[in-house]
Amino acid sequence: MVVAVGVCRWHHRRALLLAMMRIDERWPVPRWVVRTGLVGAAIGLAAVIWRSWSVTSLARGGLCEVVNGAPFTTFPYPSQAFVLTAIAAYVVGHISSRYVVEVRPELVANLGEDKFDRIGPVLVAKSIATGFLLIATILNLYEARAFAIGNWPITYYVWCATAASPILALLATALVSFLIGRWLWIPR
């Protein structure tokens, strides 16, 4: 009981977490394992897209119900499940980022310094970031315009897609949140 209370204290948990991170034998993960995992995950997601295509193209009617032109959807679990999943995935992404920093401190550097100073990849990284922000702006404008002129905004398609497959919507939410947490919520 005393031990349980002690472990529950934050500084003890932090020490335990850091001790787990310091197991050097866990790194480097064999390259073939990394590559196999990445290719396997890509194939799995490609299968998801193929399944999405077959379901959406073969359906005779729409995959959700509408009321007054807007999706009317019900789900087996509350909407908060999506938000809490996103938050959890975001935190897990950050923790995995801390793990990488712990075992590979040489990767802690700003863009343009140390391992990240090659001009070609630097330009590519900056271009992708700029392009992403541009696309996000365009999508926001499209969304606002769709609401203004009465077309279906992106939000309605997302609701309809969530009605068609809540599990896939949950997976997509978790994937995106994990990547944001891992890449953008970084330890200093």
Binding site: R31, L38, V39, A42, L45, V48, I49, S52, W53, T56, S57, A59, G61, G62, L63, C64, E65, V66, V67, P71, F72, T74, F75, P76, P78, S79, F82, V83, A86, S97, V100, L107, V108, L111, G112, F116, P121, A125, K126, A129, L133, A136, Y157, W159, C160, A161, T162, A163, A164, L168, A169, A172, L175, V176, L179, I180, W183, L184, W185, I186
Partner: protein, 83 residues
């Protein structure tokens, strides 16, 4: 209270497919690119470059995180009718 619902037009299904392609296609692209980098024995992955970018531009990283958080909240927080 009963609500008179109708099945959506089949034309919206292509929009659903596009949403799936955008989200999962983006992740597939990242996974494939990382697999190629791993195969070429390059020890910095796309994620490492993204983290270096976030260290160099923390305000932009915060803005993008906020954008995605707002998007998820906008899409999923209590926006549909409870069953």
């Amino acid at each position: 209270m009963a609500v008179d619902t109708q099945v959506a037009d089949a034309s919206v299904n292509f929009g659903l497919f596009k949403a799936a392609v955008i989200v999962f296609g983006l992740v597939i692209t990242l996974l494939t690119a990382d697999a190629i980098l791993a195969g070429r024995r390059i020890d910095t992955s796309i994620g490492h470059w993204a983290q270096a970018w976030a260290r160099r531009y923390p305000a932009f990283a915060l803005a993008i995180s906020f954008f995605f958080g707002a998007m998820i909240g906008h899409f999923f927080w209590d926006t549909w009718s409870p069953g």
